[in-house]
């Protein structure tokens, strides 16, 4: 069992000489699931010249079109970020062969928000530290997260008005 990005799906299936299954993370309560999708974003700057904004929007439309998104998802394994991508012919044909692709998409229903916060570098570093301590058995999960919260609060105190 491994935890991995959906973007590894294609590579993993190619290498595995056994049947590969996909499931979301187990959730906090027994019988529940969780998942945290990540991914890059597109930003169009308010202050940019209008032609630039128009061109940027044109690009965004292109790159998030269902055909393109489906193609990208099929070739990498990443979840298609558009529901209609799963209705395209290419995708329908693909998931008939690779049902795991649908499993990765279905994990989205349990999705929580990505950690997006000021001072992300430091806060994320704190949580990583304590996650590692919990996983390595240096602290219990509860203690680790409590300690992490204390440090994260300190790291964020300067952002409060």
């Amino acid at each position: 069992m491994i935890t991995h990005s959906s973007g590894s799906l294609v590579g993993l299936i190619a290498q595995a000489d056994f049947e590969l299954g996909v499931m979301p993370y187990p959730g906090k309560e027994e019988g529940t699931y969780a998942s945290v999708p990540g991914g890059g974003n597109f930003y169009i700057m308010k202050g940019a010249p209008q032609e630039q904004q128009d061109a940027a929007w044109k690009f965004v439309e292109f790159i998030s079109g269902p055909e393109y998104v489906a193609d990208y998802s099929i070739n990498t394994g990443y979840i298609a970020n558009r529901a209609s991508a799963y209705d395209t012919e290419a995708m329908l044909a693909y998931v008939a062969e690779v049902p795991q692709a649908l499993d990765t998409r279905d994990a989205l229903q349990y999705a929580g928000a990505e950690l997006a916060i000021q001072n992300l570098g430091q806060v994320r570093g704190i949580f990583h530290d304590y996650l590692q301590r919990a996983i390595n058995g240096e602290m219990t999960a509860a203690d680790a997260m409590a300690a992490a919260q204390v440090e994260a609060d300190a790291a964020l105190v300067d952002f409060c008005p």
């Binding site: 001072n119 570098g121 570093g125 530290d129 590692q132 996983i135 390595n136 240096e138 300067d158």
Partner: protein, 295 residues
């Protein structure tokens, strides 16, 4: 003995100017800037701290009262104590083994020295595999020797620092071997002839004659090794990212974290100053001893 050339008065200055200018801009100025910035609180990712605010010794106080930073100092010391003595001893051993007129000795020299030519990031990537639990070759070899302990070298907080030490030792020992080799080949023969006549055996010759004669080389290498252990963290980026739970974060890695992850100008300037002071202390020692060498 050099005649002075008063007629070319400005020429030497012009010739040196490019070099001096670059040194001024990228060595001298940065030190001054860091000293200055270390007395201010400034963080680029916190709006109200974007403008520097004078806090005197505040950054230094924060650093030395922060248990994390004390851990970083401890890790750095442990890292140095791990890499420097072992790689020097191995360098000496390799030099002894390679200092023979045997056919094919070049292969041995190549085997010990070649890691120095690799980029540290390449070396570390290879060692990432070697350290892999279960099928990694390092663990396979250990199991062959009867080891049955933990195998997750880069993911275990008590082993992570050791893993980066191992990589550094593998990479650097060949480098120090070359210095010892040069030293060994410059040793005077008459001392050995006298010793052989007196009936000294191999071990005695080694410890009573060879090693003391190489004292200067050893001191020289120790200082180089010391400085190098401060300034190479490439393998930490690849193998452990300073973790797990910060157990392999050394001074330079912490500096990178503070400046480029936490955007803390003041603290990173203070760490820079500390770094420079430590380095200056050791390079000055280097210069004094090598000056004596030339005398």
């Amino acid at each position: 003995m050099q005649a002075s050339r008063k007629s070319f008065k400005t020429l030497p200055y012009i010739l040196i100017f490019p070099t001096a200018a670059f040194v001024a801009l990228f060595t001298a100025w940065p030190v001054l800037l860091s000293i200055y910035q270390s007395f201010f609180r400034q963080r680029m990712n916190i709006a109200k701290f974007r403008e520097p605010a004078f806090i005197g010794w505040g950054n230094y106080v924060d650093l030395f009262t922060d248990p994390y930073f004390i851990d970083v100092i401890k890790n750095t010391l442990a890292y140095i104590l791990g890499t420097v003595p072992i790689s020097i001893i191995l360098g000496f051993l390799f030099a002894l083994l390679v200092n023979r007129k045997v056919r094919g000795i070049g292969f041995f020299r190549l085997a010990f020295f070649h890691p120095m030519v690799l980029p540290m990031v390449s070396a570390a990537t290879i060692w990432l595999f070697l350290f892999t639990p279960d099928y990694g070759l390092f663990n396979a070899a250990l199991r062959f020797l009867g080891y049955s302990g933990p195998e997750n070298w880069t993911g275990n907080p008590s082993l992570a620092l050791l893993s980066v030490v191992i990589v550094a030792v593998w990479k650097n020992s060949g480098y120090y071997m070359v210095f010892y080799l040069a030293g060994l080949q410059n040793l005077p023969n008459d001392v050995y002839e006298a010793a052989a006549l007196d009936g000294a055996n191999g071990w005695q010759t080694l410890w009573r004659i060879t090693f003391p004669l190489l004292r200067r080389t050893t001191l020289f290498i120790t200082i180089i090794a010391f400085i190098d252990s401060f300034r190479t963290v490439d393998h930490i980026f690849v193998l452990t990212s300073g973790g797990p739970s910060r157990s392999s974060t050394v001074l330079l890695f912490e500096l990178w974290l503070e400046r480029f992850e936490y955007q803390d100008i003041g603290i990173s300037a203070a760490i820079t100053v500390i770094f420079v002071i430590v380095l200056l202390a050791f390079t000055v020692t280097n210069f004094i001893t090598s000056d004596r060498k030339e005398a």
